[in-house]
């Protein structure tokens, strides 16, 4: 049946299914949030937080699945938020080697997560489960209505809060010491950035899986920074690129039956190189 239809018809056919519509809504929102925060994370040299957190989230998810709670987010979200604050603190402490501590925490949770999944899993297809959690192969297409609503509410909160704190986030990102000297509570905003990052990462696990989340955070920011020369422009352009890549990735993965997460990341890679080229030509 699929072969006999054109691409447009095939898409229209798939769009009649609610799970495809859910995937597109959730994908757009997560991509949007990830790009907003991504610019700040990349510029503050905080990209490693996203990477470390995604592994923590994987471990937490494994444990949550084991405990068989209705919605895994109940455990995963608070654990990841806590880890975010912890990672931020150690990263700023000059006496501890921040990068090593984070590597320890993230690889540790990855190992524990995998171990827990293997030891206690009731599923017949463990490697399939692990693969799905790491690379998000199909989870976005199996979202329940409750998960979609959770994602929508969280994304709206993130976007609204980001807009309201935009000027302060800029100040803390560009020059933390100056911001502190003028009385801004930079530590508070750093914690806030870490918490939001944790929320986005937990949400994004559904979309691209825990191993690929960093790509969603980093690529749009780097692409936008190649071309645009002011902060507001970079953020807006990164958001647009990110949403387009997510939509294109989801649609392509449905049309060609490729894994969703990997397809989105490849779209981001292609866009990055295009923007590198544009940046070279413009300057």
């Amino acid at each position: 049946m699929k072969e006999s239809m054109g691409i447009v018809e095939t898409l229209q056919f798939y769009l009649t299914y609610p799970f495809v519509r859910y995937a597109l809504i959730v994908g757009t929102l997560i991509a949007l949030c990830a790009a907003l925060l991504g610019v700040t994370l990349v510029l503050k040299r905080f990209s490693y937080i996203g990477d470390g957190l995604s592994h923590v989230a994987f471990g937490a998810l494994a444990v949550a699945t084991l405990l068989d709670l209705g919605t895994t987010s109940v455990i995963v979200m608070p654990v990841t938020v806590l880890a975010a604050i912890l990672i931020l603190r150690t990263g700023q402490n000059p006496r501890i080697h921040g990068d090593a501590a984070i590597a320890m925490l993230s690889v540790g949770s990855l190992a524990v997560g995998y171990l827990v999944m293997n030891l206690f899993s009731t599923s017949a297809n463990i490697s399939g489960d692990v693969c799905s959690t790491l690379f998000g192969s199909t989870s976005i297409l199996t979202l329940t209505k409750a998960e979609v609503w959770l994602c929508v509410v969280m994304s709206v909160i993130v976007v609204v809060v980001f807009i309201f704190l935009y000027n302060r986030i800029f100040a803390v990102t560009f020059d933390e010491n100056f911001a502190r000297a003028t009385g801004l509570k930079a530590g508070l905003y750093n914690n806030f950035i870490a918490v939001i990052t944790a929320i986005i990462i937990v949400l994004a696990m559904n979309l691209v899986g825990s191993l690929l989340i960093s790509a969603l955070v980093i690529f749009p920011a780097l692409s936008a920074m190649r071309v645009i020369q002011n902060f507001k422009g970079v953020i807006i352009y990164a958001a647009i690129l990110s949403v387009c890549c997510a939509l294109a990735g989801i649609v392509l993965s449905i049309l060609f039956s490729t894994p969703v997460g990997a397809t989105i990341v490849v779209a981001n890679i292609v866009v990055f190189f295009i923007n590198c080229l544009i940046g070279k030509i413009v300057r």
Binding site: L165, F170, D175
Partner: protein, 233 residues
């Protein structure tokens, strides 16, 4: 009452004191240069004045209408800023943030203040340019305009001429001198001892055992100056 009164400060890194018994005051219109060897505690002193690091001992009193966070600060460039995509306008405007209180966005008054200080620093034409594409001297003037937005009373500068070529360095010192003559109080941490005695009204030479504080004339007659091979005034 002075803007800043420091009483018996102890400066140090991570619990180890490097300089003690530092007392001085800064009054309105002063141009104070803080000099001393690397690791003597210059930067720590400056960060304490700005409220960035807690003191190991002693106390700092702000007075004469100067509030603790109403200080314009010109920090050293961080590696984050070297490739930061921000326009000149965005950076200068961010200096007015402390006046916004709890309001999330900039009002007209803040935008006017930013414009005024950009014209004052002669960078209004550059407002749409990207910070990372500017020359070192231009970047310093952008950060200076931002500092002026944060305070109309006191500027604290942290080795501001590092990395600038000689001509730009001279222009920068003259710019600071003009600001000082216009009534701004200046505190500058500096390596450039000759420029310090040329432009500053007061010198604080931080040293482990005994630090020097006094007017530039007094400093020129002191042993600190002679040890550096300076000519007697």
């Amino acid at each position: 009452m002075a803007y800043i009164q420091c009483e018996d400060l102890i400066l140090g890194y991570e619990g180890t004191p490097v300089a003690e018994h530092i007392s001085f005051s800064v009054a309105q219109g002063d141009y104070l240069c803080i000099v001393g060897e690397n690791g003597a505690g210059k930067s720590t002193l400056m960060k304490s004045l700005l409220g960035l690091t807690p003191l190991m001992g002693g106390r700092i009193v702000y007075g004469d209408g100067l509030e603790a966070h109403a200080i314009g600060y010109l920090p050293q460039q961080t590696f984050v800023q070297k490739d930061f995509p921000a326009s000149v306008w965005e950076i200068v405007l961010s200096g007015t943030l402390s006046q916004c209180g709890w309001r999330p966005f900039f009002q007209k008054a803040q935008k006017q203040l930013a414009e005024k200080n950009m014209r004052r620093m002669d960078i209004w034409e550059l407002r749409k340019e990207c910070y990372r594409n500017l020359s070192g001297g231009q970047q310093q003037r952008v950060l200076l305009a931002r500092a002026l937005c944060a305070s109309s009373k006191l500027l604290v500068l942290d080795e501001p001429v590092t990395g600038l070529d000689p001509r730009v360095t001279m222009e920068f010192y003259q710019l600071i001198q003009v600001l000082n003559q216009e009534g701004l109080t200046i505190i500058m941490v500096s390596h450039d001892i000759h420029a310090a005695v040329k432009y500053a009204s007061h010198i604080l030479h931080v040293e482990k055992e005994k630090s020097f504080i006094g007017t530039t004339q007094e400093y020129r007659k002191s042993d600190f100056w002679k040890e550096l091979g300076g000519e007697d005034a």
